[in-house]
Symmetry: none
DNA sequence: GTGGTCTAGACCACC
DNA sequence: GTGGTCTAGACCACA
């Protein structure tokens, strides 16, 4: 009972998928980062869940920056912190 | 030079239409008041314009109450102030 | 004294110049019509003067349409009324 | 989960800064109150946000008066309401 | 040339 | 999934 595998929360899954996309470079040629509502539609998640995912990308991984009312933008590769080995 | 009539701002038109509906009683049988986004779609107006219309209904006419995160509700007829004669 | 030449008001000059541009077709390939503030800068005129010029293009000549908060757009050539011979 | 402080909305920050300036008296020697567009430039905020800040100064704090087409003016110190202790 | 209203979105905070 | 705030402009109406 105490040894079952850890459940990964949905916001982590979304964050991981988006982080992989960012690191793949698909947003580096001028593609704007998707809005919260677009991500809600794409992942089928609630606003709050997507917001937690974006918070991970922003605070924990430093991959995006967000401006209230304007949207999120991907941090240029040169300024990105190296991915953490866990 | 020209004789054009005074322009009534769009938020006033929406407010007047909604006030008439409220006074007609169609929201008194348990109908919930439409959300901002529903009203945006119905009137073809932007969020801020609809919010301005709801502000008129709330502050000026006392026909609705609004709660953050819950939506607006119609004030029961007994508690409504009499319509202003202008 | 009574036979001096008619002075053409500035808003008519601006309207004539813009009408010629519209009829030349330079706005028909997706060029957006300039905003009021852009036209103020370009013609060195006050807001009200430019607004009168745009009013001529809209009401008198039917060359543009205007949406509050969005800007003006050029009417497609097919829908334009023939230019008045004066 | 985290211990972040409550976010103060930008319009409140601008209002607080302007209120402090008004109370410091720098507008009492005939200095005109800055226009909305000047405040937009100074604070790097959009029109609507600055308008919200001015609304606080006007409605909530009674520090300024505003006249359509003329601009805002600072209320003389003698007529100002005492600052609210919160 | 000011303040006032509007657009078409975005993100933020609450339920 | 609501209402609340914000952006970056546009046009409208007053003085």
């Amino acid at each position: 009972m105490s040894d079952r595998p850890k459940r990964i929360p949905p916001y982590r899954l979304a964050a991981a998928e988006l982080a992989a996309e960012i690191r793949s470079g698909i947003y580096d040629q001028g593609e704007p980062f998707p809005s919260e509502s677009a991500l809600c539609a794409r992942f089928g998640m609630a606003t709050m869940t997507i917001r937690r995912a974006l918070e991970v990308l922003r605070e924990e991984q430093g991959l995006i920056t967000t401006r209230w009312g304007k949207g999120s933008a991907v941090v240029p590769p040169a300024e990105r912190p190296a991915p953490e080995i866990e």
